[in-house]
C-alpha cells in the first residue's frame, strides 16, 4: 500500500486535531505505521490549528512534511496557508460552507464539500470535521472506511445520547462525496 500524508487545518475548535487522531488510530489498528503531529504554540489562539498525519507501511522518519500530498482546509485562513504547500497533483478537500473562494491552483485534485451544512443536516454542525474526514478517506482509499467508522464510534463512546451516531453519519455522508469525486 502507498504511504500517505495529510495536513488538516481550521479554526481551533473545528475538530481538526480530533479527526487527525481518528484517522491515525484507524490506520494503526490496520497494522500500519502512523504519526500525528500537531501545531502547538501561540498561533493556535484564534488562528489556525493544524495537524499532520502520516501513514506508511514502513517506519516513519520525518513526522514533519513540507509539501503534503493532501490537505483538508476548513476555513479561509487554512486554504490561504496550505493550498500553496500541497504537492503537485495532490488532493485538496475544501470546506465550501466557510470558504467562499475556489482553489487558486489548477494542478491539484480539489473536492468541495459543504461540510457544515451536511453535518447540520445529520444532527449537528459540529460534525463538519467528520464530513471532511469522510471525503478524504473516500478519495484516498487507503484506510478502510470501516476502520475509521470504528475509530469514530470508539472516540465518542463515553458521550451521552446520539453524538457518536451523528458523527458516524456525517462521516458516511462525506465518504459518499469523496468516493464519487473524480
Amino acid at each position: 500500500m502507498a504511504s500517505e500524508d495529510v495536513v488538516m487545518a481550521g479554526f481551533g475548535g473545528q475538530g481538526l486535531m480530533a479527526i487527525g487522531k481518528i484517522l491515525a488510530k484507524a490506520a494503526m489498528q490496520e497494522g500500519r505505521h502512523v504519526t500525528w503531529l500537531p501545531s502547538y504554540g501561540p498561533e493556535m489562539r484564534g488562528g489556525t490549528a493544524n495537524c499532520v498525519v502520516i501513514i506508511d507501511d514502513d517506519a516513519i522518519g520525518s513526522p514533519v512534511v513540507k509539501e503534503p500530498r493532501a490537505a483538508i482546509v476548513m476555513n479561509k485562513q487554512s486554504i490561504d496557508k496550505f493550498e500553496p504547500t500541497v504537492k503537485k497533483g495532490g488532493l485538496l478537500i475544501v470546506n465550501k460552507s466557510l470558504i467562499d473562494r475556489k482553489a487558486a491552483r489548477s494542478d491539484l485534485r480539489v473536492i468541495y464539500v459543504d461540510a457544515n451544512a451536511i453535518a447540520e443536516n445529520e444532527g449537528s454542525g459540529k460534525s463538519a470535521n467528520m464530513v471532511a474526514l469522510g471525503a478524504y478517506v473516500g478519495a484516498v482509499k487507503t484506510t478502510t472506511p470501516k476502520a475509521v467508522e470504528h475509530a469514530i464510534a470508539e472516540n465518542f463512546k463515553d458521550k451521552r445520547g446520539s453524538v457518536g451516531d451523528i458523527n458516524v453519519r456525517a462521516f458516511l455522508r462525506g465518504l459518499e462525496i469523496g468516493s464519487a469525486a473524480k
Binding site: 487522531k21 491515525a24 488510530k25 494503526m28 489498528q29 505505521h33 502512523v34 504519526t35 500525528w36 503531529l37 500537531p38 502547538y40 504554540g41 517506519a59 516513519i60 522518519g61 520525518s62 513526522p63 514533519v64 513540507k66
Partner: protein, 353 residues
C-alpha cells in the same frame, strides 16, 4: 490499560505512563510548555496507583523534593523544559553529590533565555557537560521515537538505581507533542537493594546519612574519586547507539540524535533512491557518547555531517572522536526551527560538490 496492546499516544503521555509502569510513584515538577502533559498525566494517574503528584512552588523546590523522596529509596522523577531544567540544576548537582537516583525528563524548547516553545536541541551541552555545578556526570538518553521514549524510561529508572545517580531522558518538543503507536513492555519492574536509603533507623545499623557536604578537601576529593570510578563504569558499559544504512560503508555519514535523526533517515532514504551512498550514526546515549562505535566508522568514511536543531553542540563530541583526518561538517537551525528533509538533502549535495 491492558498491556501488549498498541496504543496511539502523545510522547509526553507515553513517557508518563512508562514511568509509572517502571515503578515511579513520586513526581515533583513545575509547569512549562511543551511538556505539561507529563505532569497533567501524572496528576491524574499517580493517585490511582497510590503515588504522589506534587506541584512545587518552583523548579528549585521540585529538584530538592527529588532529593528528599529519592533519598528514602523510592523511584522519583521530574520533567521540565529547557529554562526549567536550568533552574533545577542546583538540585541535580546535589543529587549527583549525594548519590540519589532520580529520573529527569527534559523536553527541550528553543533558547537561550525564555526563547520559544518549539522543538529544539539546544540543551545538549547543558545536559551532557553541565547538569549543575561541580565534578559530576549523568547518563543522558535521547529517544528518537515515542516507542523508544517508552523503552528508555524503564532503562532510565534502572540505570539511576544501578549507579545511584540521576539519569536524564532528553527529548524535544516534537517527541513530546507527537502521537505514535506504542506498546508498553511487560517486563517486571527491577527492584534494587537500597541499604543506603534514609528510611528510619532500625537497631541493627547506624544512621544512614545522605549528604553532599564534605568540608575537608581531601575527604571531598576521595568522594569525587569514588563518583568518577562510577562514571568510568558508565563510560565503559553504557554507550548506546544505532546505525542506519552503514552496512556498505558509505563515504558520507550523518550524525544526528533524537528527532533530528529520524528526519535525517527520511533524507537518507531519498538520497539512496538517487544513488547517493550515505548512512546515519545515531547516539542513543548523548552521555556517555558512543565513542567506541563511532570510532569504528571513521576509517571507511570520507566526510561526516552533524545535523542538529541547534547551532552545533553534539558536533564537538563527534569531532573529538573523528579527529582531524576527516572533515566534520555541520548543518543545523536554532530557535525552534526544525531542519527539513529537503534542507538536509541540499546540504549533502553541497558536500559532494
Amino acid at each position: 490499560m491492558a498491556t501488549a496492546q498498541r496504543l496511539l499516544m502523545k510522547g509526553t503521555e507515553a513517557i508518563a505512563e512508562a514511568a509509572i509502569r517502571a515503578g515511579c510513584r513520586h513526581f515533583f515538577g513545575y509547569p512549562i510548555t511543551p511538556q505539561n502533559e507529563i505532569p497533567e498525566y501524572m496528576s491524574k494517574r499517580l493517585p490511582q496507583v497510590g503515588g504522589v503528584y506534587l506541584q512545587a512552588e518552583s523548579e528549585v523546590s521540585a529538584s530538592n523534593m527529588l532529593y528528599g523522596a529519592g533519598g528514602s529509596g523510592v523511584r522519583v522523577m521530574t520533567s521540565s523544559s529547557s529554562p526549567g531544567i536550568a533552574l533545577m540544576a542546583e538540585g541535580f548537582s546535589y543529587l549527583c553529590g549525594s548519590e540519589i537516583p532520580a529520573v529527569v525528563v527534559n523536553i527541550m524548547r528553543g533558547g537561550p533565555g525564555l526563547g520559544d516553545i518549539q522543538p529544539s536541541q539546544g540543551d545538549y551541552a547543558m545536559c551532557t557537560k553541565g547538569f549543575g555545578h561541580g565534578d559530576k556526570h549523568a547518563i543522558v538518553l535521547a529517544p528518537s521515537t515515542v516507542q523508544e521514549a517508552v523503552d528508555l524510561m524503564a532503562l532510565a529508572f534502572d540505570l539511576a538505581d544501578q549507579y545511584r545517580n540521576p539519569c536524564v531522558v532528553m527529548g524535544d518538543g516534537l517527541i513530546g507533542q507527537m502521537m505514535e503507536p506504542v506498546t508498553f513492555p511487560e517486563a517486571p519492574v527491577k527492584v534494587y537493594d537500597k541499604p543506603w536509603a534514609a528510611t528510619g533507623k532500625p537497631p541493627t545499623r547506624k544512621h544512614n546519612i545522605i549528604n553532599s557536604l564534605y568540608l575537608d578537601p581531601e575527604e571531598l576529593e576521595r568522594h569525587v574519586y569514588h563518583l568518577f570510578e562510577k562514571y568510568e563504569r558508565m563510560r565503559a558499559d553504557e554507550q548506546r547507539h544505532e546505525t542506519f544504512m552503514l552496512d556498505d560503508a558509505p563515504p558520507v555519514v550523518i550524525c544526528a540524535y533524537g528527532t533530528m535523526a529520524r528526519i535525517a533517515k527520511t533524507a537518507i532514504r531519498e538520497l539512496r533512491k538517487t544513488g547517493v551512498k550515505i548512512g546515519l550514526f545515531r547516539p542513543i546515549t548523548a552521555w556517555p557518547f558512543p565513542v567506541e562505535a563511532l570510532s569504528g566508522v571513521v576509517q571507511s568514511t570520507k566526510v561526516f555531517l552533524a545535523v542538529e536543531m541547534s547551532m552545533g553542540q553534539m558536533i564537538e563530541d563527534v569531532r573529538m572522536v573523528v579527529g582531524r583526518d576527516r572533515p566534520v561538517k555541520f548543518f543545523g537551525r536554532p530557535g525552534g526551527v526544525i531542519p527539513t528533509v529537503e534542507e538536509i538533502i541540499h546540504q549533502v549535495k553541497l558536500l559532494s560538490n
